[in-house]
Amino acid sequence: MSPARGPRGADHEHFDELAVGWALHALEPEDEALFSRHLPDCSRCARTVAETSEVMAALAADLPPAEPSDDLHERIRAAVEQTEQVRRPAPPAVGPITQPDDGHLPRRPGGTDSGRPGLAPPWRPTRIRRDGWRGRTPQALMAAVAAVVVGLGVWNVVLSTSRQQAEETAAEQQHIVQALLTPGKATIAPLSSNGHRVATVVVRDGQIQVVTSGLEVNDEASTTYVVWGTSEAAPVPLGVFDVVRPRLDLRTVGSDHTGLDDFSGYAISLEKGRKAPAKPTDIVANGQVTS
């Protein structure tokens, strides 16, 4: 956690400044990382972000009035028609969703993470029930669940102080854990990038699920993540998915490939375009099956 927390006189001025920069979406990556660790614990900064956002909204009134084209409204209607709502709390989203989550997390400069005005839910660790499933769950699934719990740390950077949203977030986490604990045989492969666990591939019942916990949100208009099955032969593209939130998520990867669990390892690549190429261009994470 950040060393300086909460309002503490002059020491806090630095965070006051960062709060304004954060709301303006103008922080440098290192400041953003620093502030995102500070904000969840600081109600003063949460208010500063909110106040700055209100001023910004008022500034939009200073602009020459402009009218979007008529067909924009139609396009939005059509897009809304085709878009399912996120249910909160809800079972984890399945398959690609067309819009990114607006959780406010550190983004890389020029990155694809997008606007959420300081309203994302805070993070609370979910206490996993220790009774019931213990002893019935294969070791490897336990490992996947452990990965989820470790991944929860990523959520720590989300902001806001709304209790309702905290509960909803906790419920969401619970769903991910429960989905992973569904009984049955599963193939598990933890995937790492530069030594850091960023995803876990879970294959069962002819379906691939990916628990992501640190992969960057991709630009869904022009890129896609691809899951590859790896073995001694050339990698085989198994399916595509999008990362819609930088924090922990469970994505189900649509695949028409059979024998999904025939591989000794799995890898994830980020590709231009919306389809899997024949060969991976940029492997962002890989790992071996542990079960």
């Binding site: 400044e17 939009a60 959420r116 709304s162």
Partner: protein, 217 residues
């Protein structure tokens, strides 16, 4: 954190907006139309100002309104108005888009123009002033009343989508100075704009009434 002496009309608008969001949460697609009617002009004006491109600006609007539909639970009324939620999302998505789209070179070229635009609005065309609506006028006055360096820092970040380091480079000021100017400018704007920009929140660092040792958590 109640709002003190906020004009009735403003809070009426707020609660109508909040009703729309409630309907969206309940799965009413028609309520998105209502929200679009309400915010399309300022949203488009803002996105277009940042992106200098109508097509990209419309893409941002589409992204924003679909995001609102997809996840209305992200709105937290205790943290501010629907207007600030929607317009901040427009701002952030437009800034993300401008950072993706614009090459460094083009941005440098545009910086000159952005700097020029940060001159006090009061010196602009008088007729423009007369035509502007009341709210707009008030914002212009508030911006015009800021010390030039504060106005410059804020307008480059807000309308230009520049990061603090870019603002520092453009204005020839140290990064730390830019951060200080943005905070000081925001404090002043909030004071000037008063309840108009007050929202429900008070007691943060840009709120003049906040003691620095105010209630934390």
């Amino acid at each position: 954190m109640g709002a003190v002496s906020r004009p009735v009309r403003r809070s009426d608008e707020d609660s109508r907006d909040a009703d729309l969001v409630r309907r969206i949460r309940a799965g009413d697609r028609g309520a998105v139309d209502g929200l679009y009617e309400r915010f399309r002009r300022p949203a488009f004006a803002l996105a277009r100002r940042i992106l200098a491109d109508d097509v990209l600006a419309e893409d941002v609007l589409q992204d924003v309104f679909v995001t609102v539909w997809r996840d209305p639970g992200a709105f937290d009324r205790s943290r501010g108005s629907v207007a600030s939620w929607v317009l901040t999302m427009v701002h952030h998505k437009a800034v993300d888009a401008v950072r993706r789209e614009e090459s460094h070179r083009r941005r440098q070229a545009r910086a000159e123009e952005d700097l020029a635009r940060s001159v006090p609005t009061a010196t602009r065309d008088v007729q423009d002033e007369v035509l502007s609506r009341g709210v707009s006028q008030r914002v212009r006055t508030a911006l015009g009343g800021l010390p030039a360096v504060q106005r410059e820092a804020l307008t480059l970040a807000y309308y230009g989508g520049y990061t603090q380091r870019e603002v520092a480079a453009l204005t020839g000021a140290p990064l730390g100075t830019v951060k200080t100017r943005m905070l000081a400018g925001m404090r002043r704007l909030r004071q000037e704009l008063g309840e108009r920009a007050g929202g429900r929140s008070a007691g943060g660092a840009v709120d003049g009434t906040a003691p620095v040792d105010g209630p934390g958590r």
